[in-house]
Subunit: 326 residues, 2 copies
Amino acid sequence: MKRVTLEEVARVAGVSRATASRVVNGASSVDESLRHAVQKAISSTGYLPNIAARSLVTRRAAAIGLLLPDERRMDGDPHLASVVSGVTRVVRPLGIHLVLMMTGPGTREQALSDLRCGRLDGVILVHTDPADPVPGQLIAAGLPVVLAGRPLTPMPITYVDVNQTVGAALAARRLKSLQCNRIATITGPQDTPAGQDRLAGFLAEVPNAVVVHGDFTRQSGVAAMERLIGCCPDVDGVFIASDLMANGAIPVLHRSGRKVPDDVAIVGFDDSSAALTSEPELTTVRQPITDMAAEMARQLLRQISEPRSPATSVVFEPTLVVRDSG
Amino acid sequence: MKRVTLEEVARVAGVSRATASRVVNGASSVDESLRHAVQKAISSTGYLPNIAARSLVTRRAAAIGLLLPDERRMDGDPHLASVVSGVTRVVRPLGIHLVLMMTGPGTREQALSDLRCGRLDGVILVHTDPADPVPGQLIAAGLPVVLAGRPLTPMPITYVDVNQTVGAALAARRLKSLQCNRIATITGPQDTPAGQDRLAGFLAEVPNAVVVHGDFTRQSGVAAMERLIGCCPDVDGVFIASDLMANGAIPVLHRSGRKVPDDVAIVGFDDSSAALTSEPELTTVRQPITDMAAEMARQLLRQISEPRSPATSVVFEPTLVVRDSG
DNA sequence: GCGGCGCGAGAGAGCGCTCTCTGGGACAGG
DNA sequence: CCTGTCCCAGAGAGCGCTCTCTCGCGCCGC
């Protein structure tokens, strides 16, 4: 099983290597008969271009990185598969590889050097710690990056996000339309843009809402709901800023003898798989994760092909998915 | 921002490119003072080796693929993050990239050609369709592959699995120790080894168990439990062959007025995140997914470094995780 | 009829690295 | 003192590809 090179294809087709290369890369200025001969030679020899050799001269790796928080922080994050799927959809037809990197000691530096040494053409950063210096370094170096979600401190970087504020407002209006009188919210972490915006968007609609803080994790949902029914027993509608927290919070209500949605209406956020594994199934605010991920990939590819193009941000509109919890 | 090449490092250090290369690759036969000079030159120039160039001559891509079923079939599969994490742990310190590929039209062929043209050194196959010809083609071509889970039809291929039979037996014994008299099981798909083994292992312990079929998905768990309480209302212990199905099945019991675990004890399988999002939390059989994934990576690396080494299989032992459902 | 022009194909120079092969110096043995 | 041996550094040949540059050929205008 010997490797087939372009040289050999050219020999079989009776043309020069240059012409064979033109056919492989779809250049237009090749005579139809020669093109045909080359194509026949390619399929008869089973030729596959050597990406390393190509990449050496084009200085393109044809690979992008997806930098993820580590397993622990993902907490069974149901988004991962959707994100990968969205990115893949855009990137695969182009023959571009998706390299997964999970945060761990040294990962971000590794990603940076992979980028610098041309092993990766760009990276998508997910769930980035606001204090992380890497995004800043990347844009400073003019390397292609796209962020999932608005960065906490404004910077000239391309990102894709859902309109968190509008999403929270959607949830608020749903609870109001359900005639809830005593409305509360369990928030996400207030050191993240998503956490902040979901709270702000909600309070804009329900200024007198009771506010209890969580951090998006299931456990924090449990704790927050316990505090909430302690301090505010007559609550009858709660916007919980992530489905995962709602998933932890609902059993607390049940144990306290409250029925969902009859006694307390619940609206979550994310429309993650946790929305379906809750009992009852969650009414929630849906973010089009897969589409957003595809858009991140597109934005990244644009940056790769037009290096110094300006940073842009794309904001998707969320929708309310009404199920059984509120 | 110009690229730094080995040539330049050599020039700065006052040695030949060959010697610089030896230092970079940790060859032993370099004089200590020269080695030091080169190392200083590397850090002062900020040199990073160009992987494409290296890969062109070594014929190693320093990248492996992880072939996954598509999003739909994953159904919010909670394993993905754990698998990635386990593989990453082994592969990252070696500077090897993990390329994610989700099944879609043509993906498997793409993986095959990536392997053939040297863009990938090996692949890990997860949740492979038993009818899929790709694994067979891969081993026939002598390319490095590792399967997650025993293949349906025996073939000389390396795989890593958990002892499904023992796991099911663990679940069975738990239900028996709970003094359940009317024991049933909701199975996985019987055209998969996992589905078969979990049923067989269970029946070996509880030969007279009621058997209802599912396919590992949540929805099938709902449907199966509805059928089960229809045909066997006095059931008081159920082994459900995946946590996801259990997650769908438990609310059915609740709606029928049965309490878990008081009226019906439930034991799941997987110890996935669905086990924690269930109410009550699931007693379940745990597979050490992350460790298994790490082992898959190790097996793959071994195959890559010793091309024609014999296929081996590694089987992990499951453990019972007792929580609230049974 | 001749020079200029445009178009398509070939020649060849690298891209940055590894690795074999060669050469030279140090040391030991004869 | 000369030769054989060993060891370490340098020279140089590629790895397979892309892409620029050159060249030849056919066509047009004058």
